[in-house]
Symmetry: C2
């Protein structure tokens, strides 16, 4: 007997028919002798519907008082889906009870719409489990110290599930979603993409942050911090699939180095075209330049990703960085308005037609020559590299966005990702 | 400056446009210097939508565990509408905050789907009012001692509003609804029906229980118990109507005898055709007969309204009573199956084509001859009276349902209800 947490996304909870299937699947696990905690999202479309109503009514300025009410509003979506699932489980003949975040309680800070979990009291849930109940805990939400409802932000139900699993010291946390696992890259771009049986949590972090949106990145951080064994798997297999087969399906996100030893050097190819590039040319190369530029950008709450400063020539250097495309126009205005005049240059270049492609693999730590293999593969396809950025387990390049699919396919092949892992 | 509670029904909250109008109306009252507490219902249709989903999933037997989840589910409707109203008020430039029942808290017993309020903590609301906030409290719901969400049953938001007004010692509780007050009778039956400027709470109780469904009957009982000054008025007047005019509109439900002294003897005519009549003829007249019959009916959870036992003749008597039409078939089966065999008679008569018409008036306490004036008016129209039942402030007759409108019109005229009150 194990203590298992299941998490079901909005699509899996999207209709009464689907909720009934979730109930049957959970019942199968409970009848196999497991203690079950289930964390559902709101029915798909519900959160958008509620926030759409709010948008029609809200003042232009979203003060903390407005954000508080948005959380109060949005939290109803998960409360309703949780109650419906509890009812469906009872119809399956199981004893079951649902709790809103405040009833557990799941304590968070007071950062409305993007709150962070601070603690979870497992007493009430543990008592119910001991009595043989399936316990349903609303995803996405908690309660602050003053008793206000908070939400964790979009995708927060993943984080709720992992946090509950951590607090309960669950044996495993199964994230049921509309894909059947984590792939070497997006199968829509590379049809030969393979599902990974296991992926390390560091790799998963890089993949999630690079646009492979299988899991919310904070849930992966949380899982890493508390060593929660996490599995991503499909909720669209028939509910009565053999439980042992199901328990081994999907992708397991692991934390033990050992399990990774025999893995491929590169686990996957991540990519996105959400970024834009900004370059300031002919900047006098003296101390404080990077701060002068990026300090102003950070003050405007603009997030910077890749940063490159070239070697200086004749006492001048070129400085480039990428920002989210949505922030591009604002960044250019900011630089022209207040930054360039202090730098002694006015040569500003920008490009929104770029993309970032990354190879991710925990094996890169112990292998040399991986980056050059990447650059060769791109060069063989005639793709010019504009920027390079590296980390311990990732190498990213910024290239012209028109080459994105070509680059991803070339790298997928160059690192033998279409072959079963050794 | 006064402390005022506003309650808005589901129709008044039925769209973002209507919620905006509610916000403007509340803002008008707040700007006039009043401390405002607002109790909204769920947006119209929402509770039915949620319970409809539950119905598709629920087991046949509604155990306490199922009822608990139905409350968890239904309570989201008011939480959402309350948050939306708080947001709309903020857009009007007012400081405002919404609380779910458990946040106030509004303590109830644990009778899921029909819980009763036990206490309301006014501390949190009072602090907010002192800070100049408009406080929104979800209608319809509370929390039991163990921290489970409960609901008060259909129409429970009226009761919530009155209970909050009682706990806060509010100066007045205004129930905004889709009618503009309490009428002498249903204007669809008698076009000359007049709106009552005031009605006593006892009269209101009788009217509410007799099918004049302006207010939930429990809210009126609550108002009577705690002497809450209650006003029923329309939410469909323009929101910017003069506040003094609005404050005097609708119908005031009063508790002071004095205010009633100059009132008409009869305040209104209530009626319904929800009942059916059952008669057992030739019952041996001996002690315990009424209990033999009605005990069995009560044990089957069938509610009995009018009860008549005629004077006995030759040691035999006739025994008649009315039940809700939905319970009629079940009542007949029950009597035939287990009751009649013990009575020594098998003469059972029933009639579903009846209606009950009542005159209601607190003045009946101190005036004689009111009932005979009623009977004369009916007799002049050739209407045969089948059953009569009286209370201190009400006289009811059961007649053939085809005469219902005729009887109501005749009585409305006989008691001069189409004339302005003296």
């Amino acid at each position: 007997m194990a203590l298992i947490v299941h998490k079901y996304g909005g699509t899996s909870m999207g209709s009464t028919e689907r909720i009934r299937n979730v109930a049957k699947r959970v019942a199968k696990w409970a009848r196999a002798g497991h203690q079950m905690v289930v964390v559902p999202s709101a029915m798909s479309g519900e959160t958008n519907r509620l926030l759409g109503l709010a948008k029609e009514l809200a003042p232009a300025r979203h003060t903390d008082a407005v954000l508080r009410e948005l959380d109060m509003l949005a939290a109803t979506g998960e409360q309703a889906s949780s109650a419906l699932l509890a009812i469906a489980l009872q119809a399956e003949g199981l004893s079951s009870v649902s709790y809103a975040g405040w009833q557990v309680p799941i304590r968070t800070n007071s950062a409305y719409t993007k709150a962070r979990i601070e603690s979870i009291d497992d007493g009430r849930v543990r008592t119910d489990l001991a009595e043989g109940k399936v316990v349903i805990v609303t995803g996405f939400q908690g309660v602050d110290e003053a008793g206000n409802i908070t939400t964790l932000g979009r995708g927060g139900s993943d984080t709720s599930a992992v946090a509950v699993a951590a607090a309960m010291k669950a044996d495993e946390c199964l994230i049921f979603t509309d894909v059947d696992g984590v792939y070497t890259t997006d199968p829509r771009v590379v049809p030969e993409a393979r599902r990974l049986h296991t992926v390390s949590f560091e790799e998963m972090l890089e993949m999630a942050s690079m646009g492979s949106k299988v899991l919310q990145i904070r849930s992966v951080e949380f899982a890493g911090k508390y060593k929660v064994k996490l599995r991503v798997l499909s909720s669209f297999t028939p509910w009565d699939i053999d439980i042992n087969e199901e328990a081994g399906s999907g992708t397991l996100i692991t934390f033990e180095e050992d399990e990774q030893m025999e893995q491929a050097v590169v686990s996957g190819i991540a990519f996105n075209r959400d970024e834009a590039k900004v370059s300031i040319l002919g900047v006098p190369d003296k101390p404080g330049i990077a701060y002068n530029i990026l300090g102003a950008v950070a003050d405007a709450n603009i997030e910077v990703d890749v940063i490159i400063q070239n070697i200086s020539k004749d006492g001048k250097t070129d400085f480039s960085f990428t920002v989210h495309r949505n922030d591009y126009a604002r960044t250019i205005d900011l630089l022209k308005g207040t930054v360039l005049p202090t730098l002694g240059t006015d040569i500003l270049e920008g490009d929104t037609k770029i993309c970032k492609v990354s190879i991710v693999g925990i094996g890169m730590r112990s292998h040399v020559g991986i980056a050059s293999r990447m650059f060769r593969a791109l060069s063989e396809e005639g793709i010019n590299i504009q920027m390079i950025s590296t980390s311990e387990i990732k190498t990213s390049v910024v290239i012209d966005e028109k080459y994105m699919e070509l680059a991803v396919r070339a790298l997928h092949k160059a690192f033998d990702l279409d072959q079963p892992a050794g």
